[in-house]
């Protein structure tokens, strides 16, 4: 519609009409730039302030540029152990959740068993339950079973809410999977395990990798559920929350940006590998 109107007006070409036409033609670009800015600006601010040397305890006002926050990223007491705990939990939880989620997705897509519908529903529950409810009920559960709160309870909680994401991600890939491929492998002499290794796994690998990255990203920044079940252990998000009441050291920005860069690199890497494989195939 817009372009038709522009075409019709073209012969006259008055200056205001021309600028109007320009805006109309580039409206989508403008809109995209604004939206992108909206998404990126907060991250950019965090990144910029990771190079700030604040005067007081709060890193809210720009003073001058420095690398020392990056070189002394663990200068704040407690930050290093918090980062370490978060990384440990995220790595273990995402691996466990992805392995479990992949197997569950295989079972849900492949086999008609009693309770499949219920399982499908239950898998979706953590995705739709408010985290605060999830955290509170997990705490109740752990207290009822007199489980000491700490590393194990954090891990259990993280695996629990990550599994759903893994199941959903892998299931999406399996639904479009041609079962004849596995039959062909067996037909050619591969037993069940070889078929899984040589055919099923390579074909769902991109989904498994995506699930792994997704779980890692969800786990490492979880605060609400973790706060309920962490006991005296301090993960990075809990550390930030605790610290923010008395100070916001620029090291928090450093760690945040580091996580962000790692996550984005991994995602881009996955996309790149998949594109490469698609081109090869």
């Amino acid at each position: 519609m817009t372009s038709v109107a522009v075409e019709a007006r073209r012969p006259r070409r008055s200056a205001p009409a021309k600028s109007l036409a320009f805006v109309r033609r580039h409206l989508l670009t403008l809109w995209s730039v604004l939206f992108f800015g909206y998404l990126v600006l907060p991250i950019a601010v965090v990144a910029v302030f990771s190079f700030n040397a604040p005067k007081g305890r709060f890193n809210f006002q720009w003073e001058h540029f420095t690398f020392s926050n990056w070189t002394h990223w663990n200068a704040i007491p407690g930050i290093q152990s918090a980062v370490q705990l978060s990384l440990e939990i995220a790595v273990i939880a995402s691996i466990l959740a992805t392995a479990l989620g992949t197997l569950m997705a295989l079972a849900l897509v492949r086999y008609g068993f009693r309770g499949r519908g219920t399982t499908n529903f239950v898998v979706f529950l953590p995705l739709s339950t408010p985290e605060i409810v999830l955290g509170a009920s997990l705490l109740t559960l752990f207290l009822n079973f007199s489980t000491p709160l700490g590393f194990k309870t954090i891990l259990i909680a993280h695996v629990m809410f990550c599994v759903s994401f893994a199941v959903v991600t892998v299931k999406a890939r399996l639904v479009g999977f041609d079962r004849h491929l596995e039959e062909a492998a067996m037909d050619l002499g591969a037993n069940e395990w070889t078929t899984f290794q040589k055919v099923t796994l390579p074909l769902i690998a991109p989904a498994i990798l995506a699930a792994l990255l997704l779980c890692f990203a969800i786990s490492i920044d979880d605060f609400v559920v973790t706060y309920f079940v962490a006991g005296s252990r301090v993960t990075f998000p809990i550390f930030v929350w605790g610290a923010a009441r008395v100070a916001t050291p620029p090291q928090i920005n450093v760690i945040g940006i580091a996580f962000f860069v790692i996550a984005v690199t991994a995602m881009l890497g996955n996309v790149f590998v998949q594109n490469y494989r698609a081109k090869q195939a």
Partner: protein, 370 residues
């Protein structure tokens, strides 16, 4: 029910059967009987076609032989051994799937090498056999490509090479040409026949295309609603169909109701008596249906059987004209060569038809009649 060929091939020992199905039945749930008590012997080295309309149980039969579907009842013997309890990877058969099912993440070479690697073939022997197999289907030189970089026809050939490279006892093909266009299909029909001849492996070819089955197969079994209608060579099935279904499925046929009045004589509804060979009538009595192919009918009085009727429809098809006559025994289709100008017959005219008793067949009226 055992279906025997009308003219069995010169005495074959029992061990020469590659596949023997005995009372094979497959039910899905309580009410779907996909395959209904099939018994069948397939000789070594034959090109065997499983022909029938869509949904008649061809794929299910093939999948049971391949090991992808467990029979509800019955036995499957491969080379004399009951394979029913064996998984697909322990059966000496290979399958060409309708969707080809080439592994998208593997190169053509690795696709074809897949079966050999599972058997521990390695190195130069592996390479030689893969290349040989690709040469057999005329696609050597493509081994570095991925399946998606090939055309449908090429993928079809790779699927064939991938299965044949293992030199199985039997090759199962489920509508392998179904996804190809007509020209390519015709080409591949000849190609498949050549390859089968070259490798000498028993082929079991599933198709719903009667022309394809007729041109390619040494033996055809016609299936309908999960059971076997008839088994025989293409000529046997066409010349002497034993059921109305077979007569109608393979080309056009005229079926006329009558009563057997002698060992070689049937009285039609209008009182005309027609003769047919004694062995064709097979000692039947009472109501029978006789049949005759349209191209066996001659216009005009002649030796043998005659029947008259009024032309109700005519259709010009170039080399010939098709007439439908209304006779007291029922409608009859006849083809007449357009060999002289002005030879057409107008609707409403009366015609007398004649045919030789040898061209007459008799079909069962009870079972299988539609």
């Amino acid at each position: 029910m055992t279906v025997e060929a009308a003219h069995p091939p010169p005495a074959v020992a029992a061990a020469e059967y590659d596949i023997r199905l005995i009372g094979l039945t497959k039910r899905f749930g309580d009410d779907v009987v996909a395959v209904d008590d099939i018994s069948l012997d397939i000789d070594r080295g034959h090109f065997f076609a499983l022909l029938g309309p869509s949904g008649c149980g061809k794929t299910t039969t093939l999948r049971m032989i391949g090991g992808f579907e467990e029979p509800t009842e019955g036995r499957i013997e491969l080379g004399g051994v009951d394979v029913a309890p064996l998984p697909p990877y322990k059966r000496d058969v290979n399958t060409v799937f309708q969707s080809y099912a080439l592994f998208p993440h593997l190169s053509i070479f690795e696709n074809v090498a897949f079966g050999l690697r599972r058997r521990g073939v390695k190195g130069s022997q592996l390479r030689t056999r893969v290349i040989e197999s690709l040469e057999l289907v005329g696609l050597a030189g493509l081994e570095k490509r991925k399946p998606r970089q090939l055309s449908g026809g090429q993928q079809q050939r790779i699927a064939l090479a991938r299965a044949l490279v293992n030199r199985p006892r039997v090759l199962l093909l489920d509508e392998p040409l179904g996804a190809l266009d007509l020209k390519l299909r015709k080409e591949m029909q000849l190609e498949l026949k050549r390859i089968q001849h070259e490798v000498g492996i028993t082929f079991v070819h599933v198709t719903h295309d009667q022309e394809e089955a007729m041109t390619m197969a040494d033996r055809i079994v016609i299936m309908n609603g999960g059971h076997i209608e008839q088994l025989g060579t293409p000529t046997e099935l066409y010349e002497s169909p034993r059921t109305a279904f077979v007569a109608g499925f393979l080309g056009v046929s005229n079926l006329l109701e009558g009563t057997a009045v002698a060992e070689d004589r049937v009285k039609l509804a209008d009182g005309t008596e027609v003769r047919c060979p004694r062995e064709v009538l097979g000692g039947r009595s009472g109501t029978v249906q006789i049949g005759v192919r349209p191209e066996k009918l001659r216009i005009g009085e002649g030796a043998g059987n005659t029947l008259s009727g009024t032309v109700t429809e005519s259709a010009y098809i170039g080399v010939s004209t098709q007439y439908i006559l209304d006779t007291p025994a029922g409608p009859v289709t006849v083809y007449m060569q357009n060999d002289r100008p002005g030879g057409q017959v107008a609707t409403g005219e009366r015609l007398t038809l004649s045919w030789s008793p040898e061209s007459t067949f008799v079909v069962d009226t009870q079972e299988g009649t539609q």
